[in-house]
């Protein structure tokens, strides 16, 4: 099912500019799209850091940042400026190539994954027909960056952090993949916009009832693990490894890792929302007849993503950290079998048309 | 087990022990370095199974160790002292195999008093740096820059 009736605003922009100015216009259009995404990346990253700190403060009986700018909104910008102006300070005996490519890999992986996420009707850089598959493929490139950083730093703490992260990501990729597959059985397409379109009459979490619910829980657990957040933040577990794989990074190198972590959290939430909660679709067709549909779509999308992100932050500030063997036990002995059984269950339900 | 019982039991096994009930409220046994390990083992057999502390001592002429032992059943305590006349190469057998807590205590005493515990698994400096010279807790330790004596 390839959708042709909706307009993609980015594709429109590219075709318009290339018609007007030829090849130069096409390149200009790509640059503009890239700039928009980079801008979104930076703003969303900074905003998420701010939100994380406020949410943390909320859980910890504190106020959080509230001095720089209104409600402390400019605090993270001040922090970013501080990081920018910091001296890049690394170890002498690092592996230069790996050390310096690590954070680019991490950040490129999350940036590319961001490009196929539909923010609203037609607001999507590239509507790949294998969108979901593409995201899970690209986001596993990010782990390479972390392993590179861990190895290239020539620091044992970093190395342990990098190896832990590798173990964790490779393991949990399976479960999140299975959870995504379960939903794809219902949607019948890998295309992000197609998946959303298929939920017009009811979100998958409701239509797929039991198996979809199980898939959702598995996906949230696996997603938390993939974005290296508590209770799965073993890669940087600060009480054990100092800062784990990014111990030896300073200034913007560190900031890139930090930003990528938050964007990954956003991506995980966005995928969960797209797969289970209908993406930018309004619940119960609340705003369907109104004007400015793309705007309403964006509002619903970000509203749902915010709830998911709040859930992930809630995890972070209440749960203790798992141990590496418990982490692997959880994946290989519980989540993976559950996911496999779940996918069979879903297949049966879809075959006998037992989903709503 | 009263103090007298301990004294008679120990005197049966060992000679050259001196007993003292005046200096502190506990029975104090002073042993020779040769008997030290055996006396400590014997005392442990009597129920004094908790090595409360090992205190390095510098009595001026002699170096030594004061051990406080407790009976965890009854709460009784005794003190076992050992004195070494040799200040240049003081040596004692290690208690590490009798009480595990002796491991760190003996390293500390070695570090600060220079008493060498034979048979100890890691006889290295614990608190001070490896290249430190001298033993600062001894009474004859002098350091013009770091010590202010009023």
């Amino acid at each position: 099912m390839i959708l042709t009736n909706t307009t993609n605003y980015f594709a429109e922009l590219v075709s318009y500019l290339s018609e007007q100015m030829g090849l130069g216009g096409q390149i200009l259009a790509y640059v503009i799209v890239a700039a928009i995404y980079l801008g979104f990346f930076a703003v969303a990253g900074l905003l998420l850091v701010y939100i994380e700190r406020r949410v943390a403060a909320f859980f910890q009986l504190r106020l959080g940042p509230n001095r720089v700018g209104p409600w402390g909104l400019l605090q993270t910008i001040a922090d970013a400026l501080k990081l920018l102006s910091k001296e890049i300070f690394g170890t002498n005996r690092k592996d230069k190539l790996l050390y310096n490519t690590a954070y680019y890999l991490v950040i490129i992986a999350s940036l590319v994954a961001l490009s196929v996420i539909p923010f609203s009707i037609g607001v999507q850089a590239y509507d790949l027909n294998i969108g979901v598959f593409f995201i899970s493929a690209v986001s596993s490139v990010g782990v390479l960056g972390i392993i590179f950083g861990g190895w290239g730093s020539n620091n044992k703490y970093s190395l342990i952090g990098g190896m832990r992260s590798g173990l964790q990501m490779i393991s949990y990729e399976l479960s999140s993949g299975l959870a995504i597959l379960t939903i794809i059985l219902m949607a019948g397409t890998l295309q992000m916009s197609g998946i959303i379109e298929a939920q017009r009459d009811g979100f998958f979490i409701w239509r797929g009832h039991i198996p979809a619910l199980i898939a959702f829980f598995v996906f949230v657990i696996a997603g938390t693990a993939e974005s290296n957040r508590t209770p799965f933040d073993l890669a940087e577990g600060e009480a054990e490894l100092g800062a784990g794989y990014h111990s030896e990074y300073s200034g913007m190198g560190f900031a890139f890792f930090f930003l990528a972590e938050f964007i990954n959290m956003f991506i995980i939430s966005a995928i969960a929302v797209t797969l289970f909660f209908g993406g930018w679709l309004a619940p119960f067709h609340l705003t369907d007849g109104l004007a400015y549909q793309p705007l309403w779509g964006a509002i619903w999308f970000f509203l749902k993503v915010s709830v998911m992100i709040f859930l992930l932050m809630w995890f972070r500030w209440t749960f203790p950290r798992l141990r590496i063997d418990q982490l692997l036990t959880l994946e290989w002995k519980y989540l993976l079998p559950i996911g496999l059984i779940n996918i069979v269950l879903m297949a049966i339900l879809v075959y006998f048309n037992l989903v709503f | 087990m009263t103090n007298n019982d301990i004294i008679t039991a120990l005197q049966k096994q060992f000679q050259d022990l001196s007993f003292d009930e005046e200096t502190s409220k506990y029975l104090t046994i002073t042993v020779l370095p040769e008997n030290y390990l055996d006396v400590m083992k014997a005392v442990r057999e009597m129920g004094f199974d908790y090595l409360f502390s090992m205190t390095g001592m510098d009595w001026g002429a002699e170096l030594g160790v004061t051990n406080h032992l407790e009976n965890t059943e009854t709460g009784d305590m005794i003190v076992v002292k050992v004195k070494l006349a040799d200040r240049e190469n003081p040596e004692l057998p290690t208690l590490e195999n009798v009480w595990k807590t002796a491991h760190l205590h003996e390293r500390e005493i070695f570090d600060l008093f220079g008493i060498n515990f034979k048979g100890h698994s890691v006889m290295k400096r614990l608190l001070l740096t490896e290249d430190w010279e001298g033993y600062p807790m001894r009474k004859d330790w002098q350091d013009e820059t770091k010590m202010i004596i009023r």
Partner: protein, 376 residues
């Protein structure tokens, strides 16, 4: 094409060293552990101390007896008052002074407050060590109330130096009783919340249960004391076994918390329950503090009679022994502080072996080290 064969006999795993500390978040200070690791499994632990060694014992030999008390604050700074009390009691024991009943009660109340404050801080940091960051803030909020009480009466929040030989420095602040009566129900109401946040958490339980096992015999052999030994079933509370201050002079009803499992969870539970027992003790004493002065008569220049004096007290970390050898002069001939942390560190060397790094951190947390206490 040439066939490449891999001879598996040539492959071998290699052990490596990891320097944990002196600057490491989990060592809570400047403790340095030299770990031998095989992968993430700890094969050997060698502590390297002395990063905050101030040779307090040597300094004591050149100070008068009244000055010594102020040095002891800086050993186990989380139970500063109990350290002070230990030295004061040792001096009083030597001089055979009978201190007023009011002093005994005040010292005991202060000691128990210190113990609660110490355990609260431990709980917060314990949570952080296993990755639950919120506990820290909760614990510090409630610890703050104790610090305020201390500040009002002693003028200091952490290192109080409140006890003197024969008494205490100042009388209680008029607000003291009122504040304590506010604090007791408050802490009683928050401890169940602590349990909800951390103790009952399934991840936490899995991290703690069965990890860092120490048997009864080992606990004795290692010289472990305090909550560490009581988690292994050793009855060693000095407040019961060698009562001092108000524990000796008054009839206080409290339980010695003993768990026999010997693992991290047992040590954790001992401390959590001890806080409630300390509240009980304070509650029994706070209503009738006797009014017979805060200072026994002592000379301006204290000289101890010739002899050896040992005083053991129960600090938040365990059994602190103050051993004073006096030759009758105004300075002690030798002072030894047998600190509980030093012996408990000895236990870490053995029980930490064979665990993962993450577990080692958790074990260190339940052993509750204060590094200045170990180094002195």
């Amino acid at each position: 094409m040439e066939q490449v064969t891999l001879n598996t006999a040539d492959l071998k795993s290699q052990e490596y060293f990891l320097n944990m500390g002196p600057q490491h978040p989990a060592t809570h200070g400047v403790l340095r552990l030299i770990l031998t690791l095989d992968g993430e499994v700890v094969k050997n632990i060698e502590p390297d101390l002395g990063y905050i060694h101030r040779s307090i014992e040597k300094q004591c030999e050149y100070e008068g007896y009244k000055q010594i008390i102020h040095l002891t604050d800086r050993m186990d700074y989380l139970s500063a008052h109990i350290n002070n009390e230990a030295v004061a009691l040792a001096i009083e024991q030597a001089l055979e002074i009978e201190v007023p009943e009011r002093v005994k009660v005040i010292r005991t109340i202060m000691g128990e407050l210190t113990r609660i404050a110490s355990h609260l801080l431990w709980w917060g940091v314990m949570g952080m060590d296993v990755g639950a960051l919120t506990t820290f803030m909760y614990a510090f909020r409630d610890r703050e109330m104790i610090n305020d009480i201390m500040e009002e009466t002693c003028g200091a929040r952490l290192t109080m130096s409140y006890s003197t030989p024969g008494g205490v420095m100042f009388d209680l602040h008029p607000n003291f009783v009122k504040r304590i009566k506010e604090f007791i129900p408050h802490l009683r109401s928050v401890i169940p919340k602590y349990d909800e946040l951390l103790t009952g958490n399934v991840i936490f339980q899995k991290r703690m249960k069965g990890v860092g096992y120490m048997s009864y015999e080992d606990a004795i052999s290692h010289g472990a004391s305090g909550p560490v030994a009581r988690g292994s079933g050793v009855s060693c509370d000095r407040r019961k076994k060698g009562p001092y201050s108000a524990f000796a002079s008054q009839d206080i009803d409290f339980k010695e918390i003993i768990y026999t499992e010997g693992d991290n969870l047992a040590r954790y539970n001992v401390r959590m329950k001890e806080m409630l027992q300390s509240l009980n003790i304070i509650e029994q004493l706070i209503d009738n503090i006797p009014d017979d002065g805060i200072q026994a008569k002592t000379r301006a220049l204290i000289k101890l009679p010739k002899g050896e004096f040992l005083q053991r007290v129960e600090t938040a970390r365990g059994d602190l022994g103050v051993y004073i050898v006096s030759d009758g002069k105004k300075n002690p001939y030798r002072v030894k502080f047998r600190s509980p942390g030093f012996s408990n560190l000895n236990a870490l060397i053995e029980i930490g072996k064979g665990h993962l790094i993450a577990d080692l951190v958790a074990i260190m947390s339940t052993l509750d080290f204060v590094v200045p206490d170990i180094d002195r």
